[in-house]
């Protein structure tokens, strides 16, 4: 139903937010009475009939006060969203099957607290946040993942019923964000490693077995190698020291598409490769990744692991900057 869809796009202003922070203005906050609100209205009507029938003047006053309360509650529910500032944060990659968390930094410029803000993606569980007056808070909106690839969760539904639950106000912030979903790993034994071509580095200074001393940590060093004892002794020293190892088999492990069992589907192969990457990283081996059309040179460390996993996740996908509206 293209007509209805475009009507909704116009009515709800369904489009991506280009400007940051996202500020919720009155044109993009929508509000309707909830079932509780309708029940409240019904109760008021019944009460009015009763008050007229028994000529209860004070009853009229009560009903009018409650009606006023309903109107005021509408304004307050609206203001619970109005003027809220949202800044999307960096999304951490997850494995397929785990929920992805999309972080939002919230900023409340007004002097009253905002309470019970519910963030959710369509059909997903909501997270609830209270924002102090003129304060900030962070919320991570969860989105279930099923398959690998780049996950676009769509718009966020930001809803609130606070204070009285008679009205539900909502807005559809839609930041540019996506999450890289790694394939779900399948753990199989690692393939056999092959000696590196560089014979001179066979007993180099970057082995994994013998402790060879400490050196200042570089960004690329894994946290696993931090010499915590040394750090604990001299807490003020920056950067931390990492343990350096030497010797051992400085062999290169090639995790190649071709090594996966024949007869597996593409997705299964990718899952097996993911399992290998994780296993190789755990063993602190030097490993490279070879996929059809993609080749990542052998390496080590968190950054290398991440680029391998990302290559597996995005295998066969279009590049990110191709954003369909």
């Amino acid at each position: 139903m293209p007509v209805l869809a475009s009507l909704q796009r116009w009515l709800f202003r369904l489009r991506r937010d280009e400007q940051l922070p996202i500020v919720l203005g009155q044109r993009r906050i929508f509000i309707v009475p909830t079932r509780a609100g309708l029940l409240f209205a019904l109760v008021l009507v019944v009460m009015l009939v009763g008050a007229i029938n028994y000529n209860l003047s004070l009853g009229h006053a009560l009903i009018f006060l409650l009606a006023g309360l309903g109107i005021v509650a509408m304004v307050h529910t609206f203001h619970n969203l109005f003027g809220l500032r949202l800044t999307p944060g960096r999304v951490a990659a997850v494995f397929a099957g785990d929920p992805a968390y999309f972080p939002l930094q919230l900023e409340n410029p007004r002097r009253q607290a905002r309470r019970a803000l519910e963030f959710s993606f369509a059909g997903q569980t909501a997270s609830c946040v209270h924002l102090p007056a003129q304060g900030r808070a962070a919320v991570a909106v969860s989105c279930a993942t099923q398959r690998r690839g780049r996950l676009d969760p769509g718009r966020v539904t930001l809803a609130t019923r606070y204070p009285l639950g008679l009205f539900r106000a909502w807005s559809y912030p839609h930041p540019h964000w996506s999450c890289v979903v790694y394939p779900q790993p399948i753990r199989t034994p690692l393939p056999a490693s092959s000696p590196t071509a560089h014979a001179d580095r066979l007993h180099g200074d970057n082995g994994q077995e013998d402790f060879a001393g400490l050196r200042p940590r570089q960004i690329s060093d894994s946290t696993r190698h931090i010499a915590w004892k040394a750090v604990a002794r001299r807490t003020d020293e920056q950067p931390h020291l990492v343990k350096q190892f030497a010797g051992g088999a400085s062999e290169e492990l090639w995790l190649a598409w071709s090594l996966t069992p024949a007869g597996c589907g593409a997705e299964e192969r990718l899952s097996i490769l993911t399992g290998w990457v994780l296993a190789a990283d755990e063993q602190q081996a030097r490993y490279g990744l070879a996929l059809p059309g993609v080749r990542i040179a052998a390496g080590q460390g968190d950054a290398h692991r991440a680029s391998c996993l990302q290559a597996l996740a995005l295998y066969g996908e279009k590049p990110e900057n191709d954003r369909p509206q």
Partner: protein, 669 residues
């Protein structure tokens, strides 16, 4: 996509309301149940109050111990049992009292199965409804204040329910804020909402139980029973000077039938009374208006005798003003009365005949006395009777001895202690026995002016009975035998006439001045409350609107202006609660102003440019402004990023930099 949206909305709504109720929200809901059901304990049967209180305590105990709720079948049993008990107690399930009892039971039992948020919402909505039922019993100022507090509590419960754990004080403050903002809407709606006068349908039998006042018959003790009540019967305000207290006879029911025990008003057929009553007032009529408390009778208690009646009322053949319907709500009436009058000089024979009727064979001694006087002219007979009351030792007391079958004989010749009803009935009996048409009139006598608001307040303790006889050529003439026995009753009121020790309501017998003043203030406040809040009916609404200069308002124009005013109020509330623009830091403001001035002079700071980087660029591109900009940027950077003293001085220097900028060059065309 549309379907998608809709299902999302539904699933989130369902998820919200079926979510489990927070443990911390339960005490709020129990407080709601107690605050809305509790005040009904005053008029519920004791076992019901016990059941409700016990159930709420039980629920609180379960909450405190975090025990599971009782099984559903047990609750169902409890509900069915209490409904049956209510049906048995009230003999019905409809009606006002039974309905309220049912609602109270539901309110007490609902928390017992309260596990989700939806249940909690039902409790609060039921609470709002229960608040209304309190007004069926009382609409006094304290009830109004208590219920305002209760609305605050209920609203707080909703806020707590939707906003998660918060300090109690913060919740109540927020509820108070919401109520304060709702008040203007209430006032507008109260003033302008087109009022409909009820009832819309027949009210249950017990709707008007508990209204007190004069009854339509008089037997010994009926008026003295009323007199021990200090309740207000009505209030009046005279357009001019109020008459003397001794002239204030407010006419209620007229009794012309006696059966030896009880006086009754006999309903004569219209054909028997012949013509409508003819009243000829002597002197200037007194205009006044009265606000009558509901007494469930038709008489309007006009000052004897009414010459000008309010609409929808008539003057009965027995000369009292009658409303078309029994007075079931407090209402306001305007009259004019003549305290000196000639009424029904040509009285219908049927009425005169009725005014002579006596039951046979009782009170022989009284009849014998009357026969002695019968030869005299009627005025002399009346005077003889009054002289007897005045000169022989008759006493005025609220606690007379009981009288037997020959009540008049016993009263006149042995006990001689009695109250206005005894004197009035003995006098009328004597007159009738002597052949003079006479009847008993009940009503109120006197009243007391409340100096706070100037209203004359007439209480139930001012209830009185007197007599009137028909004299040819003069019509009906009032005689008050009580005045002969206790003149102070008529001139000063009931307190002066009764000896100490007689049972009178504490508020009627007020000796201390400040207590009396306090009571006067309280009653004046009640009077304005009654007129402006409780008595605000369709008629009063029209009066008020026309006083505001709005002639002839109809429901259409009222609804239109209602909508406009509510819209304005909504706008005001919206703007009031709008997030106010935060006060910009003065340092920031001064720097931005300086940058804005530079922009006018042709060099604009980019958003990303820091103060020092900007100063460097200015030095490159506009050497003429370099020194000043460098200075300003320096001050700004120090104020922003450095600690230290003399911030005020630096801020002033920064602000002065703006003023020290060279004037703009005009572009030459």
């Amino acid at each position: 996509m549309a379907r998608n949206l809709k299902t999302i909305g539904r699933s989130s709504a369902a998820a919200w309301s079926s979510a489990a109720l927070e443990h911390g929200a339960v005490p709020w809901l129990l407080a709601v149940a107690l605050a809305t059901a509790g005040p009904h304990f005053a008029h519920l049967p004791w076992w019901l109050s016990l059941l409700v209180g016990g159930t709420l305590l039980w629920r609180a105990w379960l909450w405190q111990r975090r025990r599971p709720l009782p099984p559903r079948w047990a609750l169902a049993l409890l509900v069915v049992g209490s409904i049956a008990a209510i049906a048995w107690q009230f003999r019905t399930l409809l009606g006002k009292d039974a309905g309220v009892a049912l609602l109270v039971v539901f309110m007490a039992l609902k928390p017992m199965e309260m596990s989700s948020r939806r249940d909690a919402l039902v409790v609060v909505m039921l609470g709002y409804f229960l608040l209304l039922t309190h007004y069926l019993y009382s609409q006094s100022i304290p009830t109004g204040a208590w219920l305002l507090a209760a609305i605050g509590l209920l609203t707080g419960a909703l806020i707590r329910l939707h906003g998660g754990p918060q300090p109690v004080a913060a919740v109540l403050r927020h509820a108070g804020l919401l109520l304060a903002q709702a008040l203007p809407f209430m006032l507008i709606l109260y003033l302008l909402f087109p009022r409909v006068s009820g009832p819309l349908w027949g009210l249950p039998q017990d709707a008007y139980s508990g209204l007190s006042g004069l009854s339509d018959e008089m037997s010994p003790g009926s008026i003295s029973g009323l007199i021990v009540s200090g309740a207000i019967a009505f209030r009046s305000r005279f357009a001019g000077e109020a008459p003397e207290k001794a002239d204030l006879y407010w006419r209620g029911p007229v009794f012309d039938e006696y059966d030896g025990q009880t006086w009754r008003a006999r309903a004569l057929p219209a054909s028997a009374t012949g013509q409508p009553p003819v009243v000829e007032g002597i002197g200037e009529p007194l205009a006044y208006s009265s606000i009558l408390e509901a007494h469930n009778q038709r008489w309007l208690l006009a000052l004897d005798v009414a010459t000008l009646l309010p609409p929808e009322s008539t003057l009965a053949p027995t000369l009292q003003a009658l409303a078309r319907e029994p007075l079931r709500v407090r209402a306001r009436f305007s009259f004019a009365s003549a305290i000196a009058y000639r009424a029904n000089v040509n009285e219908a024979p049927a009425i005169l005949q009725q005014a002579l009727a006596l039951p046979d064979e009782i009170n022989p001694r009284t009849r014998a006395l009357a026969r002695e006087w019968a030869a005299r002219p009627p005025e002399k007979i009346a005077e003889a009777a009054l002289a007897m009351f005045r000169n022989e030792d008759f006493y005025y007391t609220l606690q007379p001895p009981l009288l037997g079958a020959n009540a008049m004989d016993e009263f006149l010749f042995s006990t001689r202690r009695g109250f206005c009803e005894h004197y009035a009935s003995a006098f009328v009996f004597l007159m009738r026995a002597a052949g003079v048409p006479a009847r008993v009139v009940a009503g109120y006598q006197g009243g007391e002016v409340n100096p706070v608001d100037g209203y004359l307040v007439v209480r139930q303790s001012d209830a009185h009975a007197w007599a009137e006889i028909w004299l040819s050529g003069q019509g009906w003439v009032r005689f008050d035998p009580t005045a002969a026995v206790a003149p102070s009753r008529i001139e000063q009121g009931i307190v002066a006439a009764l000896p100490q020790g007689e049972p009178l309501p504490i508020l009627v017998r007020l000796d201390s001045d400040w207590l009396r003043q306090l009571r006067n203030r309280w009653e004046a406040a009640n009077n304005s409350w009654n007129q402006w809040v409780l008595g605000y009916n369709p008629q009063r609404q029209r009066e008020v609107l026309s006083r505001l200069g709005w002639r002839d308002p109809d429901w259409r124009s009222m609804s239109a202006s209602l909508a406009v005013l509510c819209g304005i109020a909504l706008l005001v509330v919206t703007l009031w609660t709008l997030p106010r623009r935060l006060a910009v830091d003065p340092v920031q403001r001064a720097w931005l102003k300086y940058c804005a001035e530079l922009k006018r002079r042709g060099i604009a700071r980019a958003d990303w440019e820091g103060p020092l980087a900007f100063a460097q660029r200015v030095a490159r591109e506009r050497p003429d402004l370099a020194a000043l900009t460098d200075e300003a940027a320096g001050y700004y950077a120090e104020l922003r990023y450095a600690r230290g003293d003399g911030r005020d001085h630096k801020l002033r220097c920064l602000q002065q930099c703006v003023r020290r900028l060279p004037p703009r060059r005009r572009k030459r065309s």
